[in-house]
């Protein structure tokens, strides 16, 4: 192909993607020393809304953005810091992401990589955060409509929830680890609304069966499942550079048919193994316990190849 040695440092052992900060992920995942940050911390673009709640801001408002190289290709990147406000999207944070997608329209990088770790709208910024998430969604779809590949990586401890769970599914390609989670409402919110019988938020095994990377991979809601390892995410992101799929009417009609079939076939399932069985995937009853590489060898649901 291009005979490229992907300039990755020789790491002696696995580095947990989940345990890395956003900036550590960027430093390790992208080609060494190629990340150039836009609106860096020294510019102090902090949130105007947090002080009134007695919460300190972050110099980068919880997201680092810029350009870099991945296997030699120019990419634009954003990494959300899950430790700051749960990665929630506020006014400035959202505007940085919007600017990144808009710049991608102009500068046409190979791809935009979003290292997503977020609870969705930053509740401390309520209305401003809700509008911000929507602006991010529009800007992402503008970039895709212009032929820019959008890749989302999900593997942080906070997962990718809320409005960001919707935004993630607007991308071309999602890579998740077993440790990652992708969903809409957090289990705590569901439990608060409908009780512990509906969803016991402290039952970690349940939470991961319903929202975790394994389940999402098996039903086809993410495209690659990797180990909790920065190098594995990097390799998966490189594969994803070729994943662009235009959003056309036939594509959405196919998606609709798939989602309808799933609704019909899953019936009233409320746990993952039952749903897998009803969808005819992962008939191996060991599926919940297989190692990631063994899981990838299983046949997933019969879906259009993405």
């Amino acid at each position: 192909m291009n005979g490229m040695n992907a300039m990755k440092p020789a790491l002696p052992s696995r580095i947990s993607y989940a345990e890395c900060s956003a900036r550590e992920r960027l430093a390790r995942l992208l080609d060494a020393d190629t990340f150039h940050e836009w609106l860096p911390p020294a510019q102090r673009l902090t949130s105007p809304h947090l002080a009134q709640l007695g919460v300190p801001g972050a110099f980068d408002d919880g997201v680092a953005i810029g350009r870099a190289r991945l296997a030699g290709h120019e990419v634009f990147v954003a990494a959300q810091e899950g430790a700051f406000m749960g990665g929630g999207v506020g006014e400035v944070h959202g505007a940085k992401l919007v600017g990144l997608f808009r710049r991608a329209l102009r500068d046409r990088p190979r791809a935009v990589l979003l290292l997503a770790e977020s609870g969705g709208v930053r509740l401390h910024e309520a209305n401003a955060g809700l509008i911000a998430v929507s602006e991010v969604m529009r800007a992402l779809l503008d970039a895709r409509a212009a032929g820019i590949t959008v890749i989302v990586l999900i593997g942080g401890a906070n997962g990718c929830f809320g409005g960001m769970g919707i935004v993630a599914r607007c991308a071309d390609h999602i890579v998740m680890s077993d440790a990652g989670r992708l969903a809409m409402s957090g289990p705590e919110v569901i439990e608060a609304s409908h009780g512990v019988e509906e969803f016991d938020a402290r039952d970690r095994a349940l939470v991961w069966r319903v929202t975790g990377g394994r389940h999402r991979y098996l039903v086809g809601d993410c495209d690659q499942l990797v180990e909790d390892d920065v190098a594995a995410f990097r390799d998966a992101a490189i594969v994803a550079l070729d994943s662009h799929r235009p959003l056309t009417l036939p594509a959405l009609q196919d998606e609709h048919a798939l989602l309808q079939r799933r609704l019909h076939d899953a019936g009233d399932a409320i746990d993952a193994p039952v749903m897998w069985q009803r969808l005819g995937i992962a008939q191996d009853e060991r599926a919940p316990d297989l190692a990631v590489h063994e899981l990838r060898a299983l046949e997933r649901t019969g879906e259009p190849v993405r």
Binding site: L45, A95, L130, G186, H194, D221, L263, D271
Partner: protein, 233 residues
């Protein structure tokens, strides 16, 4: 104003909008132009299935009525908070609805959102907020989350959040705050049919919300920050 009164105010007798459960759909005529109408009522909880039903209407409009404007009537309490929906992938269903609406826009269908009662969170992200522009009736309310759940998640006292929701523009659910922030273009009063005609004529197809928010003073930083990314070395 319930959806039926709203439909009459907008279209008189020139519509066949009906409610199927909490799904609203139909076709209306305004100034001799056909308009596809889809939305929800009864403060609908948008689950996986209801998201798909709405998407179906938008897809059918694109397939059978190219260029026909779409009016989204919004009354929702947000996404359905059930384990079953999460298991099925409600975020994917909602993204699908959002992408259908967004594609309709790109294919030349003018998409107008109208919050006529309430809108929350995910239910709003995949309706009014992905339209060409969103409007609201003056008494409508838009929220991110109900206060008790918000207090639990943020660990902020509910009493504090309640107080902020009275007058603080970032928290108060009144739609005038959303107008000030640029999230809602304007409120419709009086002649609603005229307001809709105006919206169909005037609503831009670019996302001007951050610029609007800066001009109106409700959201001062977003536009400048996005521009700063464009200009950064």
């Amino acid at each position: 104003m319930n959806w039926s009164e709203l439909a009459t105010a907008l279209f008189g007798a020139d519509h066949d909008i009906r409610a199927d459960g909490s799904l609203l759909h139909g076709t209306a005529t305004l100034a001799r132009q056909s308009i596809a109408v889809v939305g929800t009522t009864d403060h609908a909880s948008i689950g996986y299935a209801l998201a798909l039903r709405q998407a179906e209407v938008v897809l059918a409009t694109m397939a059978h009525h190219p260029g026909r404007p779409v009016l989204l009537l919004i009354d929702t309490q947000g996404q359905q908070l059930r384990r079953h929906d999460e298991l099925l992938g409600i975020n994917r269903a909602m993204a699908h609805l959002g992408c259908c609406i967004d594609l309709a826009r790109r294919r030349g269908h003018r998409v107008i959102g109208l919050v006529y009662d309430q809108a929350l969170s995910g239910g709003f992200i995949t309706s009014g907020l992905i339209a060409d522009g969103c409007y609201a009736l003056p008494q409508a309310e838009i929220r991110v989350m109900r206060l008790p759940a918000m207090a639990r998640v943020t660990k902020l006292p509910e009493a504090l959040l309640a107080e902020l929701s009275q007058a603080n523009p970032v928290f108060a659910p009144g739609v005038d705050n959303y107008v000030a922030m640029g999230g809602v273009r304007s409120l419709w009063r009086g002649d609603l049919a005229a307001a809709l005609r105006q919206a169909l004529a005037d609503t831009p197809t670019d996302d001007t919300r951050a610029v609007d928010g800066a001009q109106r003073g409700g959201r001062r930083l977003a536009a400048d920050v996005a521009q700063a990314v464009m200009d950064a070395a």
